[in-house]
């Protein structure tokens, strides 16, 4: 039968494409969406702002890509890039790990801050990066964020922080915990000056970052389906000895419970922020 033949050819073709995809995946051209399981061509994914074209899942973004998406081209000027990781506990293997990560990720720390323009509106922008020790906050991250806040106060600019973090950085012990107080204190100055702070929560934002600057925005936005909370889901499950319901601690859950102002899809993020800044001029 002709149809059978066509089917067979198609199957063969499918198999060939599948194999090709598989080999391409090996060299990193393809990625599987862990939500809808669709195999996606990386270039297509990145062209779509790293959002799955099939199901809308927002993939995690590096600070470099995020800045590219939010800041007008060529306007980003870094602040505090010279502030580097410290090792106050002399913690075994910590600096070695940091050096390895720097090499691998080509970034110096878990946050990048700077001044920029967003649709022509001047702003201070801080973008955390989950590829660097889960975006955890040690002294360098706290100091860079604080400098960003102080710059916003000094230059009378609105502040936008994109959060992604596992919380305070364990390897720096109490010094990390104190960054929560330091960044929150700095925000009182911005508040007193009557300037706008927009906090954007992305997947995941937890621990000491949730319990400090992330939750202190005049306006708090979130990307869809981001995990946002203080305690991590595993810790809660161990404490209460039961499984958490589907959607617990996700953006939609936080919106329902009154802790964020709005869920914004990535394609609308830049224009939403620009609009909010204009409304506060």
């Amino acid at each position: 039968m002709v149809i059978d033949k066509v089917k067979k050819v198609n199957e063969k073709e499918e198999k060939r494409v599948k194999n090709e995809k598989a080999s391409d995946m090996m060299i990193g051209k393809w990625v599987k969406c862990d939500n809808c399981k669709e195999i996606l061509y990386k270039d297509d994914l990145h062209k779509n702002l790293s959002v799955c074209p099939n199901c809308g899942k927002h993939f995690r973004l590096s600070s470099r890509r995020r800045i590219k998406q939010i800041a007008d081209e060529g306007t980003f000027k870094e602040i505090g890039g010279d502030i580097v990781t410290k090792d106050p506990l002399n913690f075994k293997g910590y600096m070695k790990k940091v050096e390895m990560l720097k090499e691998k990720t080509k970034i110096e720390e878990a946050v990048k801050c700077g001044t920029c323009e967003i649709e022509g509106e001047k702003a201070v922008l801080a973008v955390m990066d989950g590829n660097f020790l889960m975006g955890s906050m040690g002294s360098a991250v706290g100091e860079r964020i604080t400098l960003a806040i102080e710059t916003a106060v000094k230059k009378k600019l609105p502040l936008v922080i994109f959060c992604v973090s596992g919380g305070a950085r364990m390897q720096e012990g109490m010094i990390s915990l104190m960054q929560m107080a330091k960044t929150s204190s700095a925000l009182t100055k911005l508040d007193k000056a009557g300037q706008l702070y927009i906090s954007v929560l992305t997947d995941p934002t937890t621990g000491g970052v949730t319990a400090s600057f992330a939750s202190l925005g005049d306006i708090i936005l979130a990307e869809p389906h981001a995990l946002i909370g203080f305690a991590g889901p595993r810790v809660i499950e161990q404490t209460i000895n039961q499984k958490l319901p589907e959607g617990f601690q996700r953006s939609e859950f936080l919106l329902e419970h009154g802790f964020i102002d709005k869920i914004v899809e990535r394609k609308d993020m830049k224009s939403t922020i620009a609009k909010l800044i204009r409304l506060h001029k």
Binding site: P88, L89, F91, G173, L177, S185, F230, A231, F259
Partner: protein, 263 residues
């Protein structure tokens, strides 16, 4: 006497019969009246607070309260506050500011409670709000770590002008068990972690995070509470006197600088 290790101090800090916040409140102040509730959701028994007098001066006191017996400890949720506890503390601190009363806080918690309700009611927001508001309160704040001060749950009532630790208290980013489980992937290495975390009073004095170590009798504060109270009393008296000479602006600016430069 054998050298006391960091882990020994963790054990001392957690001792069931170690004096708790209410013991210090009774010992240091007169006329204590406990005030309840966050005016929003409920009254969290893991945090106590109210008004009292310190050598005749009205003050606001707040403390994380563990129980000294199993049943009381359960009622107190083992000293692990929910958001309404932090919001009650903030309400009382704002009240203190309105009536120009100094604030004295007692820190003693394994951490903020990691439960479902706590997340639903915004544990992270509650802690963040306290850090923000405490930074700008225009009255003197003295914070005393009396037992274990773990994570953001401790810091949420520990942003002050003076930060003091009892000799055997520990103040850390996380419990040693949690720390070991994250960094060594093995919570049974807590003993080792306790030392590596550098969380004893001496460690934190060296880091410049705390201002003063209050000496304890051999075997821990429960052995001679009077002695500890006497030392604390002298320190609070001296600190309040120093802080009372500052203008509101200086007070807040100094506090800002304290946290700005400590790390």
């Amino acid at each position: 006497m054998a050298k006391i290790t960091a882990w020994d101090r963790v054990m001392l800090a957690r001792k069931m019969d170690r004096p708790k916040a209410l013991d210090y409140i009774q010992g240091l102040f007169d006329d204590f009246i406990e005030l309840h509730g966050d005016r929003n959701f409920g009254d969290d028994k893991a945090i106590v607070g109210g008004i009292a007098t310190f050598e005749g001066i009205p003050v606001t006191v707040i403390g994380e309260q563990k129980g000294k017996k199993a049943k009381e400890n359960m009622e107190r949720n083992f000293g692990m506050p929910n958001p309404e506890g932090y919001r009650k503390a903030l309400r009382l601190m704002k009240q203190a500011e309105k009536f120009h009363r100094p604030i004295i806080t007692f820190i003693d918690t394994p951490g903020a409670y990691p439960g479902m309700g706590a997340e639903e009611r915004g544990q992270g927001e509650a802690i963040a709000r306290n850090l923000f508001e405490m930074s700008k309160l225009e009255v003197p704040i003295i914070c005393i770590v009396i037992g274990e001060g773990s994570s953001g749950g401790a810091l949420a009532i520990a942003v002050g002008d003076r930060i003091v630790m009892l000799e055997n208290a520990v103040y850390s980013i996380l419990s040693p068990e949690g720390f070991a489980s994250i960094l060594y992937k093995d919570s049974s290495k807590a003993k080792e972690a306790a030392g590596d975390m550098k969380a004893t009073a001496k460690d934190l004095k060296d880091f410049g995070i705390i201002d003063k170590i209050i000496k304890e009798p051999e075997g821990g504060a429960q052995e001679d509470l009077e002695m500890v109270i006497k030392e604390l009393k002298a320190y609070i008296k001296k600190s309040l006197k120093e802080l009372s000479t500052l203008s509101k602006k200086e007070l807040v600016e100094n506090r800002y600088e304290k946290f700005r430069t400590m790390c």
